[in-house]
Symmetry: C2
Subunit: 403 residues, 2 copies
């Protein structure tokens, strides 16, 4: 183990960190962490319109967990107010208008996934807040005061606004209000640190700036890197289909992760695991497998990860190289009578739509069991034990785990 | 009398009008006025931070009065909400922060002056509204919706913003909100026409645009010209000292107006009087005197105007050419004993600080009565009748009307 892992302040401020600001000899988060005599309040904004979490979201949640483990308070702010307003122009797909029921459902879904990473069980380390609590009652006087804290020029300097203004793409005035509302959240919850991806720098600086205008904490910004997706090129995102969901089944998770491009593997270890980079295997294939095994263990269990590894190896043996997605399961003891013919199993499990289609697939060499091709149309199995734990495959894309 | 004066719709839409919009074959204020089967609601915003009215303000108030006389409703909106907020940056002298007492006092002062022009006595023709009524309870959702109705590009196209942005002068974000708040006023009071100076075009268009997004009236904009001040060059304004206040005494008002540059005289007649331009005297000096007499009559009485004209002529005879300002009065029957020496009168009335100063001024030729120089240090007056109605002058700048 390296010193880095042993020193909790270094862990917080160096591992998996893109930038911390401010960072000067007179004002640094390291100094704040070592001198503070109280738990710090660590802010993270949650968008309830996109509750499907993947490993890209895990990066910042893991950073938050490290703060919890060091005794600090995770303050999660659910942006229900803006979610319920949506984008009044209807032009932004990123801002659909949600009902309060949808927000509540999405928040619940989010929490179910986030608790795989965050400590939800120690009440003094977690604070859940909904920003409608303060934004819903904000009056025009405060809004004018917030708006008066920034100039048009400062706002247009924000990277995405600057690009759009340069291209002549319309920027609607209410878009200027959102960074200020996020900043106002920081005033209300009195945050000491705000976490976010690198694209959040401007908004976090706005919050810091607003906080300096009143007495109370002035937050540091801690930015985590964006996670590159499985394609090795673009940011991990659901719409680009280069992601691993936090709730994916072990086999799917393992199978995707063991193919992470070699160049990304150390970064994935740094951002997504506790493994000391100095201890990684030198063989690239072994490193990929360790990464897949480690992350699958974290979100499921070591046993489930081991099983996923075995299943994946069987499938690889079958020569299939497509992306697996989520493999459904079929309980073989639901079959009433053994011995069971393979064709019947294919129909009963829904892999084929009829007995005839099943026989045709077998004859044409489209059916494999644990990677082994079966072309005997009369093949049958004596008992459930003979099938359980094996992966049944039809064609190149249909898989079924027999359990 | 010309047709123009006889046709009430032409009077409203042509006399003293800089621009009306929209104005197309399918949509015009003339058509609206001739087909409407109800009284129209005519909006005018009142800034309670500047309650000292002068003839520059009279232009738009006279236009409003014409609408009242034609049976329409003057809706005066007192901008108390923004006046009480002021400019949060403290950078705008035009937006000081007022208390509600100051707003109430200024509004009262404004009304006292405005009623010299508007019909305040026919309740169904006047509606006074304070915009804190609706802006004070505006919530963030509505504000976001208002902001979303315009783009940054549209706002920066507004002339004053465009200039400042081009020059790099900071524009604070809340400044973008003010035109939208003024526009929201139009929604709330359901205006059919909004009056304003030419610099109000953008704001009135914003109100029109917001109104089209809901059912109800969509206002026309009627812009009146800015009145050029007594200097003949710049907009009439108190700070440039080229103005005539609505509450100035008759002599001061007359004396200023009889010196209006000849080139401006027809415009002053058009914007500030009911006189038919076709009937104006051909002699420039006679035109100036008629202008001064007419306007002074309007704000005081024909008798007071005649008196002012006589007083002014006496002062002119004395060779004095300085700007008169407001001439104080002194009641000669407050003098206990007649005959009264001139020197005593000068001291008793405060024109000189001592008897010695008074005698010295007389000896040196600094004292005039109705323009006639008096150098006899022993001059005395037998009775109050001998003095009443005359103007006493010491030096070039001190005047006193004896009454």
């Amino acid at each position: 183990m390296s010193d880095r892992i042993l020193d909790p302040i270094k862990l917080l401020t160096e591992k998996g960190v893109a930038e911390i600001f401010p960072n000067s000899p007179t004002e640094s988060l390291q100094a704040r962490l070592s001198t503070s005599d109280r738990s710090l309040r660590i802010k993270l904004g949650i968008d309830p319109t996109r509750p499907d979490l993947h490993l890209g979201h895990a990066v910042v949640l893991r950073k938050m967990r490290q703060f919890q483990d060091a005794g600090h308070i995770a303050v999660l702010i659910i942006g229900d107010f803006t979610a319920q307003i949506g984008d009044p122009t209807g032009k932004s797909e990123a801002r659909p208008r949600l009902t309060s029921e949808e927000v509540a459902y999405n928040a619940k879904t989010y929490f179910e996934q986030a608790r795989k990473i965050l400590d939800f069980d120690t009440p003094e380390k977690l604070e859940l807040r909904y920003n409608s609590e303060w934004l819903g009652t904000l009056d025009l006087q405060v809004i004018i005061s917030l708006l008066s804290s920034m100039t048009v020029g400062q706002m247009l300097a924000k990277e995405d606004f600057s690009e759009r203004y340069g291209q002549g793409t319309p920027i609607y005035l209410h878009e200027f209000l959102y960074p200020l509302m996020q900043g106002y959240d920081s005033i209300i919850i009195d945050s000491d640190v705000e976490l976010g991806g690198t694209e959040q720098k401007f908004n976090i600086l706005v919050g810091r700036d607003l906080q300096t205008r009143r007495s109370g904490s002035v937050q540091f910004g801690l930015l985590v890197p964006l996670l590159v997706g499985l394609d090795g090129v673009q940011k991990m995102s659901k719409s680009l289909d280069n992601y691993v969901g936090l709730t994916e089944d072990p086999l799917s998770m393992y199978s995707k992760l063991e193919k992470v491009p070699d160049a990304l593997v150390p970064r994935y270890f740094e951002l997504l695991t506790d493994v000391d980079l100095a201890t990684l295997p030198t063989n690239p294939r072994e490193r990929q497998k360790l990464l897949a095994l480690t992350i699958t263990s974290q979100y499921h269990s070591p046993e489930a990860a081991q099983q996923a590894q075995q299943d994946a190896e069987k499938i690889v043996l079958s020569g299939n190289t497509t992306d697996l997605g989520q493999i459904p399961e079929f309980a073989v003891d639901s079959i009433a009578k053994f011995p069971v013919p393979l064709a019947y199993l294919l129909k009963a499990s829904g892999m084929c739509s009829s007995n005839n289609e099943a026989k045709s697939q077998i004859t044409n060499g489209g059916v494999r069991l644990d990677g082994e091709k079966i072309q005997d149309v009369d093949r049958a199995f004596a008992s459930a034990v003979e099938l359980a734990g094996k992966v049944l495959q039809v064609g190149k894309k249909k898989f079924l785990r027999l359990v």
